[in-house]
């Protein structure tokens, strides 16, 4: 049993202690916290694995907005998957379920990772 959602955090270390770092203007464009990636800085940030799309996303330590949670998984999900979850007709599948379906050889994944379409693999029948 997982006690905390943060138990699932990975880690990213960005070390610019011997580097000019990322200038503030570039950091903004690159979606990095400018306060933590400049010259001489060393940033350590949590990284979340998204249970829906199977991707990973750095958790910006300077973020003030709340994180998105899937209450079916009881885990944080990435912002992209959170948007897709709110669309009509959304089918909830975790990446483990998707991987098991593909691994069975009976399904293939089409579309994007946050909004996948699972297509049954059909075999050609002679005659």
């Amino acid at each position: 049993m997982t006690l905390l959602r943060t138990s699932h955090d990975g880690e990213m270390t960005l070390d610019h202690t011997a580097s000019p770092g990322i200038p503030a203007a570039d950091a903004e464009r690159l979606d990095m916290p400018a306060e933590l990636v400049g010259e001489g800085k060393k940033m350590t940030a949590a990284v979340m694995g998204c249970p829906h799309c199977g991707g990973c996303q750095m958790l910006n330590p300077m973020r003030k907005r709340p994180r998105n949670v899937c209450h079916k998984c009881d885990k944080y999900v990435c912002d992209i998957c959170a948007g897709v979850m709110r669309q009509p007709g959304y089918v909830h599948r975790t990446i483990e379920e998707i991987a098991a379906m593909v691994h069975s050889g009976k399904w293939k994944l089409m579309g994007s990772m946050s909004n996948p379409m699972m297509i049954p693999v059909t075999e050609a029948v002679d005659g």
Binding site: S7, H8, D9, G10, E11, M12, T13, L14, D15, H16, A18, S19, P20, G21, I22, P23, D26, A27, R29, L30, D31, M32, V37, V47, M48, G49, C50, C53, G54, G55, C56, Q57, M58, C78, I80, C81, V84, I95, I98, A99, V102, H103, S104, G105, K108, L109, G111, S112, M113, S114, N115, P116
Partner: protein, 174 residues
């Protein structure tokens, strides 16, 4: 299975736009499933900048929207192998495909609903390391786009400039 390391040395990561076919050979690291049912857990990415002047690189781990044709087998100094010397070879037909160039290069995804892991750094002395927590790995599923292949490249879309780096991708195939 067992953990493997895909390592590149002295690769010039050319800044290239997401959503467009990669225009420069040997300017990225890509990992593709060896079979339609293969699962790969990507566990760690490490990039060590080797540029001799300040170079901000928009490194990202991304899905691939259009696969390459005929990946070229890795050649020294780039390499791929098991982390344990006693590793058992993968079963024929399910061998993972790590590559840095191909006959026709892959296209990194710019689809809004395909996530990308941001690993931007200054390649002049900068180091970035990403580690996945247990069960929170980056997934590669099958061997077709977009789930079956991922690419570590320098995105000019976010303002990345071309620069030299050493890098590795740690992964575990099933």
């Amino acid at each position: 299975m067992a953990k493997r390391l895909f390592t590149s040395q002295g690769l010039t990561f050319t800044g290239q736009a997401a959503g467009s076919v990669i225009g420069t050979a040997s300017s990225y690291m890509a990992l593709k499933g060896g079979a339609s049912t293969q699962i790969i857990d990507v566990l760690e990415i490490f990039i060590s900048g080797m540029a001799t002047a300040s170079t901000v690189a928009g490194m990202i781990m991304d899905r691939v929207s259009t696969l390459e044709t005929t990946p070229t087998a890795l050649a020294a100094p780039n390499r791929d192998g098991g982390m344990n010397p006693s590793i058992t070879a993968l079963v024929s037909g399910s061998t993972v495909v790590p590559f840095v160039t191909a006959s026709t290069q892959p296209t990194p995804s710019n689809t809004v609903t395909d996530i990308a892991l941001n690993l931007a750094l200054n390649l002049f002395g900068g180091i970035v390391r990403w580690n996945a927590a247990t069960t929170q790995q980056w997934w590669i599923i099958g061997n077709t786009a977009p789930a079956g292949e991922s690419i570590l490249f320098n995105s000019s879309t976010g303002g990345g400039s071309t620069g030299l780096a050493n890098a590795h991708i740690m992964y575990e195939p099933y």
